[in-house]
């Protein structure tokens, strides 16, 4: 508990410092407040957006997109990662193809996604799940390929069937790497969410950023950036916590 308090304390000190320096700089007159708003102006913009109802609805829309895209990508990634790692036929058929997909950045898929799925939710889900899928697949594949041979020998010499070997040995042994993939995937889900929303969206945090640019509302842009930062950090912490709980034996 005192560890948590200590971390919160450090966070408060660090943030206070940043806000003070920011204020001094924004108020110094070196640079127009139109381009570099003060913390107070950003707070006011946030309150305005909240009162308009846009802040919460953007948050909800973006989170839903991220969650749906993440769920699709993560489930496919785990399933296919286990298969490409443990089933020869699947690995021969898919691994080279998936490795060719890896270098294609999610942003590059946005135009294709818009043509295929329109500017509605479909294109967002597609781009996000694609990004998450690759990260989760790669890590699951690595984890499941690298299961210690002693575990497999032990399972077989204890008379475990192939099915039991898969569910009771391969999956738990790969779980630490699967979680690495999920955590990375969650971070990437946000990245591609914003990429998808920046072009071709009419709602969401990314859209709001783009919208603010049209009116040179830097204060509103910063609201969006801070929202993304907080969301990302919370999500990462949640995944780290979940990982520690579910893969408890890793840090024992």
């Amino acid at each position: 508990m005192s560890e948590v308090l200590k971390k919160i304390g450090q966070l408060v000190i660090s943030l206070t410092g940043v806000v003070i320096i920011w204020s001094l700089f924004a108020n110094s007159g070196f640079i127009s407040q139109k381009l570099f708003p003060t913390p107070g102006q950003i707070l006011r913009a946030a309150i305005d957006l909240y009162q308009d109802g846009v802040l919460m609805s953007d948050l909800q829309i973006s989170l839903t997109r991220a969650a749906v895209g993440f769920s699709i990508g993560a489930s496919l990634g785990i399933a296919l990662g286990l298969l490409t790692a443990r089933v020869k036929v699947v690995s021969v058929a898919l691994e080279p193809f998936l490795n060719l997909l890896r270098p294609i950045p999610a942003i590059a898929l946005v135009p294709v996604a818009i043509v295929w799925f329109g500017i509605g939710e479909g294109s967002k889900y597609f781009v996000i799940s694609y990004t998450v899928f690759l990260a989760v697949w790669l890590n699951t594949h690595a984890g499941a390929s690298d299961v210690a041979s002693t575990y497999i020998r032990a399972a077989r010499s204890l008379g475990a069937s192939k099915t039991r070997e898969f569910f009771e040995v391969i999956i738990p042994a790969s779980a630490p790497m699967i979680f690495v993939g999920l955590r990375l995937g969650a971070a990437l889900a946000f990245l591609s969410l914003v990429a998808a929303e920046l072009s071709g969206a009419s709602s969401g945090i990314g859209f709001r950023l783009q919208d603010a640019r049209q009116f040179i509302r830097t204060d509103r842009m910063f609201v969006g950036l801070i929202q993304l930062g907080i969301l990302g950090a919370l999500l990462d912490a949640a995944f780290a916590y979940l990982g520690r709980r579910l893969v408890h034996w890793e840090n024992a």
């Binding site: 204890l158 040995v169 034996w249």
Partner: protein, 262 residues
């Protein structure tokens, strides 16, 4: 379970294992070897690294295929991994995601018995190795000695015909190792499973076995077989002159140019 029966006989006939080294050379891990292991006996393979002792054990377990020859278990040729052959591995092969109880239960799942009976047998097995009260503990929270006790419980609970042990206590400190020897001998005397035990520790081989095969490298082979006459039950604190003589003899053998020190 196998007391005074003929279950658990191992016949190794002209068994030979060669590997291809990464450089492409043929490495004779085990030269053609003949060996009969009587049911219910405790037999050690001892020698430096590279002498083929683990290879022989892995071949009996069906983990490594023979290049030529045959190994029979009660007359049946070994064709692959067989759950009638229990294995206690060198590294801890407990599943860290299962509790001590979960690990023992894993071994019992292949039997068509009720969950209740499985639980009873698993609890009894853990009690037998002195881990009563630790059933719900994860391996990560157990000491090295306790983990190998779980491994013993996991393997003895199914009453295998043969038990293979590959330097199971190599990573333990001297005192824990002595304690493990006592536990192992106590359980072995109750079950009388045939044990094939691989070690590079001369004292360990002599304390535990009825018979020790001394092996040497390049190619891996048995260079001498020694029956251990010491009465059972044995303890490190009542070692007789026979024991010392045998010990010195084996150490001299292992020092010979044929068997290089590791």
């Amino acid at each position: 379970m196998n007391a005074q029966t003929d279950i658990g006989r191992i016949d190794i006939k002209e068994a030979e294992v060669t590997f291809k080294s990464p450089g492409g050379d043929r490495v004779e891990a085990l030269a053609a070897t003949d060996l009969v292991i009587d049911p219910g006996s405790f037999v050690s393979l001892i020698g430096p690294s590279g002498c083929g002792k683990s290879t022989m054990l892995n071949a009996v377990g069906g983990f490594v295929p023979l290049t030529s020859g045959v190994i029979e278990l009660d007359g049946e040729p070994v064709k692959g991994i067989n759950p009638d052959v229990g294995v206690v591995f060198q590294q801890y092969a407990l599943f860290p995601w299962f509790t001590a109880l979960g690990n023992v239960m894993f071994a019992l799942k292949r039997f068509k018995i009720s969950k209740q009976e499985r639980l009873e047998r698993a609890y009894a097995a853990l009690k037998e190795v002195g881990l009563e009260g630790r059933e719900r503990t994860y391996p990560g929270q157990l000491s090295g000695g306790m983990r190998q006790r779980v491994a013993l419980a996991r393997v003895f609970v199914t009453s295998p015909k043969v038990l293979l042990m590959d330097e199971p206590f190599g990573a333990l400190d001297a005192q824990t190792r002595v304690a493990m020897h006592e536990i192992l001998l106590r359980i072995w005397e109750a079950h009388r499973t045939t044990v094939l035990f691989v070690t590079h520790d001369v004292d360990e081989a002599l304390i535990l076995s009825d018979c020790a095969h001394i092996m040497s490298a390049g190619p891996g082979r048995i260079i001498e077989t020694m029956d251990v006459k010491q009465e059972r039950p044995r303890h490190v604190d009542n070692i007789g002159p026979d024991f010392l003589e045998a010990r010195n003899h084996i150490i001299r053998l292992l020092r010979q140019p044929g068997g290089k020190d590791h």
